[in-house]
């Protein structure tokens, strides 16, 4: 009963939070484009369809064509799909690992905590991209899923660190002690007593991991270490730069991919601020 009321209260504030709503609408807009865009595109992303080469947007080619006569719209919507996939799977995996390691380290404490802490700090110091690029460079065939796995397995440290700190402070509360005294197993205590109390935090961690994964993927794709068999927004930008889109002024080739990434990641950040205000009464009405 009380719980239900609380949920309604969150919903009440969520529906009135402009930042959350604006961010969410932008994400949904791009998500719809990623889902249904490829069905509307009648050309394959890499097919050379326009014999005239680069042409500005027209009724035939909505986003224009590249230097090679490829359909930019088709590349864009397919790349958008890859972007969301990387965000959801890569960011999801990063969050999951962060949660597992953070909970274990924070709840167990002692030597387990020490070891996990050193591990976290090491992975935190190593620049993610450097490791990704050395692995990616040696793999001859890469798919979008491989990219998601790379990103997920290197992006977890800050999440683990933050969740560990939160768990650490919750661990000594009375209700957790009570659960422990009543003989609950550690796993159950973590998931029924501790996790629900930091749910808002976990959601926000996922959102930030989502945005981070998209940016890392764009960087990897841009230096040519993205998926070898699929189009991505980063790859579009790389081709645009390498094939002189700047010099020829074919702006329709490099504006859409970067704009989409900026809009999606910016919307995610904005949503995060909005959610923070919804969950944290101190920040409301600012």
């Amino acid at each position: 009963m009380k719980n239900k009321k609380k949920k309604n209260e969150f919903l009440f504030f969520a529906l009135r939070n402009k930042k959350l709503l604006v961010g969410l609408s932008i994400i949904i807009l791009f998500l719809l484009m990623a889902l249904f865009g490829p069905m509307l595109a009648h050309n394959k992303p890499f097919a050379y369809v326009n014999p005239n080469g680069a042409q500005p947007p027209s009724s035939e080619y909505w986003f224009g064509t590249t230097f090679f006569g490829q359909d930019v719209f088709s590349q864009f919507v397919n790349g958008l799909r890859a972007t969301f996939l990387v965000g959801i799977i890569g960011g999801g995996l990063g969050t999951l690992l962060g949660i597992l390691i953070g909970f274990t380290a924070g709840y167990r404490g002692g030597i387990v905590d020490e070891i996990l802490n050193v591990l976290t700090n090491i992975v935190l110091v190593i620049p993610t991209l450097a490791v990704l690029l050395i692995i990616a460079a040696y793999l001859q065939v890469r798919s979008v899923i491989t990219e998601c796995l790379f990103i997920g397995f290197t992006a977890w440290p800050w999440a683990a660190r933050a969740i560990r700190a939160q768990t650490f402070s919750l661990r000594t509360r009375e209700f957790v002690d009570l659960a422990r005294l009543s003989g609950m197993k550690p796993g159950k205590i973590i998931f029924t007593e501790i996790a629900p109390n930091m749910m808002s935090y976990l959601v926000m961690t996922f959102i930030l991991q989502f945005g981070g994964a998209i940016l890392i993927a764009a960087t990897l794709d841009f230096i040519g270490l993205g998926p070898t068999n699929a189009v991505s927004l980063g790859l579009m930008m790389q081709y645009a730069v390498l094939w002189g889109a700047l010099q020829f002024g074919t702006w329709w080739w490099f504006i859409p991919p970067g704009l989409a990434i900026t809009a999606i990641v910016g919307a995610l950040y904005t949503m995060n601020v909005g959610l923070d205000e919804v969950f944290n009464p101190k920040l409301r009405e600012m």
Binding site: L215, T219, I223, G224
Partner: protein, 332 residues
């Protein structure tokens, strides 16, 4: 302070050890045979006897017929002799030499961009906090800037200032018509080519620091000590000054955490502007499947990041008196 440093150094040594191990392990345990791949693809075959030289190099550097643990020790040994193999893309220049030629450009680009954006971002963010008008303009701008992929901002700047307005050059580190020398004209050319890559790095980072600082200041101004000072009748500026000094610490930690992202940003920015630092080299190495050069870039990036982390640790001690008095301001 001793414990603080001891712990940090232990982490850095472990990190370096792990990084070198990754660098050694990946070529050996990846599916396929990268060594054969590389030797069949490289353009050194036109050079008589070059392939034999490469094989000898492999035998020497990798010790491929030895047991794995001996290969591993071999790798460390050549590393300490500064031997990272020969670049196949710039054959027969040693990788170390290629990298050392590129490093000054990175230092010249990254250090001013990081320091200036951090200082400017923090000051602007602190200024914007709790001032309605500024907050409403700077915060959205900051969020947009941090969400922008580095290369895209680079592309936009290059397109607008380089192509449309034609003010700045968009490729190379100095005019192609010049040879490096110590003249004003050459230095001018260096600065002109440096400006756009610097500006794009600066702007993206600036957004992040400004937002971070704004949020920290608001948090600090809500803290008990601020309310207490206000209640005592302290002037507004004094309260903000104390808040700023407290808020700067997490920003410093944030700088250490962001280094990896910044390095990634610098790599792609260099690619956009064909700026001859490590990032540009890396793209060439990837396109030419020059594995020795890729591995060398990896090690150089790791060493650079570790050194920067260490510098930030020292800065932390200078800024936070608690660490100096052994009170452990920040653990690990």
């Amino acid at each position: 302070m001793k414990r603080y440093f001891g712990r940090k150094i232990l982490i850095y040594l472990l990190t370096f050890f792990l990084a070198v191990t990754i660098d050694w392990m990946i070529p050996r345990f990846m599916p396929g045979d990268p060594v054969r791949n590389m030797l069949t693809r490289v353009s050194v075959s036109s050079n008589a006897g070059a392939i034999q030289v490469m094989y000898d190099y492999y035998a020497h550097l990798f010790g491929l017929d030895l047991p794995l643990w001996q290969q591993y020790l071999y790798f460390w040994n050549s590393l300490f002799h500064g031997n990272l193999g020969l670049s196949t893309y710039l054959f027969p220049t040693p990788v170390t030499k290629v990298l050392i030629r590129a490093v000054p450009y990175d230092v010249f680009l990254l250090i001013p961009a990081i320091l200036l954006s951090w200082l400017a971002g923090n000051n602007f963010g602190a200024f914007a906090a709790r001032s309605k008008w500024l907050d409403n303009t700077i915060s959205p701008l900051g969020y947009i800037l941090t969400a922008t992929p580095y290369m895209w901002l680079g592309i936009l700047l290059a397109w607008f200032f380089g192509i449309i307005l034609g003010i700045f050059p968009i490729a190379g580190a100095y005019s192609f018509a010049m040879l490096p020398n110590l003249s004003w004209a050459f230095i001018g050319s260096l600065l002109l080519h440096w400006f756009l890559p610097f500006a794009s790095l600066f702007m993206v980072m600036f957004g992040g620091w400004a937002i971070g600082m704004r949020n920290m200041i608001i948090y600090e101004l809500e803290a008990d000590y601020s309310h207490y000072l206000e209640a005592l009748g302290a002037p507004r500026n004094l309260v903000r000054k104390y808040a700023f000094r407290n808020a700067i610490l997490p920003q410093l930690t944030g700088l250490a955490l962001q280094l990896g992202v910044i390095v990634a940003g610098a790599l792609v920015t260099e690619v956009v502007f064909s700026y001859p630092g490590i990032g540009y080299l890396l793209l060439a190495a990837i396109q030419n499947q020059d594995y020795f050069l890729i591995q060398g870039c990896f090690l150089f990036i790791i060493i650079g990041v570790l050194l920067a982390n260490f510098a930030i640790d020292i800065a932390y001690i200078l800024v936070d008196p608690r660490t100096r008095r052994g009170m452990m301001g920040e653990t690990a």
